[in-house]
Assembly symmetry: C2
Homo-oligomer: 226 residues x 2
DNA sequence: ATTAATATATGATATATGTCATATAAAGTC
DNA sequence: GACTTTATATGACATATATCATATATTAAT
């Protein structure tokens, strides 16, 4: 069993507020797990009963809509926590979490986390701030969906992907989403997404190498996406 | 100065967790204010430095988008708190709050609230749950905007308005929004909103009496909006 | 009450986006 | 390596929604 105390990733999440003894206690009751790309960590409607700490890899938080399409609400990466909202509200998960890459995650049971809430004010404040950040982000995406065109949202999302997950040595976006997934982020049909990517390519804002996307004119995307 | 201890509205918000002495302390430092319909309580980008407790009336939380239209992100009514997110994140407001009716609100400075956070775990837990509820709501609206048609969103919103704010003796929706505001909620052009209201009227799902909206076939709206 | 201003309503038209069909490319399987 | 499956790409077309114009109703102002 690996020690939470020595886990670097901890430093990036709300858990950084925890003290030595709290971390030792946590290491005792946590469960480490490997998650394969495509695996479901938890599903909409499921009772989660704890929190997942993402040690490595990226996952998408999705919600299935009436028309059968998966809307991606948020991407979660290394150092972030999963399932906090559901745990705090004491409700089943509102979103599903699906791995986009092979992941390493640790599950920390609810009882443990709730204990920290009561003992450690810094910790609960951190969690609160994280959720407030999520809320702001959700509000901003919401306004974008309501008021921007699909092309504007696409441009914006490409910049977000670059900024958040970085690029490979060949300059292509490190996080490689399928066209369908990009469409699911910006709320459009896969074909429309593909078409608009082609358009951006014709306008020399991006390059498409197979599935890979390379941003060649950041300013152009900025001008479109804002 | 009115006493928080005797304020019934308190019971509906996170503040219900506060004890007698905390309420007395709060009554000391709060500022009561009347807000006229149309007045701005605070604006996007402004530093709020506290929380507003809505004693009476309803306001809209809006965000101005690039194209100059106001998107309504949320409606806030009697018994709810305003500006929590911004206070906790220690950031300027992300949304503007504008009164839809004459309102009575009390302003409680940040220092006071932060004190309660540290002393009273039930209170911070309540606030956290409220924000988690807001986050879930925002995620759901987000998915609706991405995946539903305007007509579906309109039907859904009409039911939401009935459920949340009730109806008058003549069965019309109690909260009387302008067509432009309804459009701002569902993320469409005012003309489209008007057109779709007319459509719903032709389909005998609603009646339009001037500005007033009467829901005549709830099930029909449910079938459309979900 | 009359006028001015604003909100609601509807038509005509343009545009963005979705849907269905099909082709090509890439990836997985035996 | 040949084959099957799946993802990407593009065309043709349908539909939803935005925009602009204008009419009518409602509200505010004098």
């Amino acid at each position: 069993m690996s020690k939470c105390e020595q886990c670097i990733v901890r430093e990036f999440s709300s858990l950084k507020a925890l003290g030595k003894d709290e971390l030792l206690k946590m290491a005792e009751c946590k469960t480490s797990m490997q998650v394969k790309k495509g695996d479901i960590i938890f599903e909409e409607g499921e009772n989660v009963n704890g929190v997942f700490c993402v040690k490595d890899g990226v996952c998408k938080m999705t919600k299935l809509s009436q028309n059968g399409k998966d809307q991606i609400v948020k991407l979660v990466k290394k150092g972030e926590l999963l399932g906090q909202r559901s745990m705090i509200s004491d409700e089943p998960a509102n979103l599903s979490a699906v791995a986009l890459e092979d992941m390493q995650v640790c599950f920390i049971p609810k009882s443990e986390i709730m204990g920290f809430f009561n003992q450690n004010n810094n910790f609960s404040m951190n969690v609160m701030k994280t959720i407030c950040g999520d809320l702001k982000e959700a509000d901003d995406i919401l306004v974008g969906l309501a008021q921007k065109t699909v092309k504007e949202r696409l441009a914006h999302t490409l910049l977000y992907l670059e900024e958040t997950f970085g690029i490979n040595p060949d300059k292509s976006l490190k996080l490689q989403l399928s066209r369908e997934e990009i469409a699911g982020m910006i709320g459009t049909a896969t074909e429309s997404c593909i078409r608009l990517l082609s358009e951006l390519k014709k306008e020399n804002a991006i390059e498409l190498v197979g599935k890979k996307i390379i941003i060649t004119d950041r300013n152009k995307l900025l001008r479109i996406g804002n």
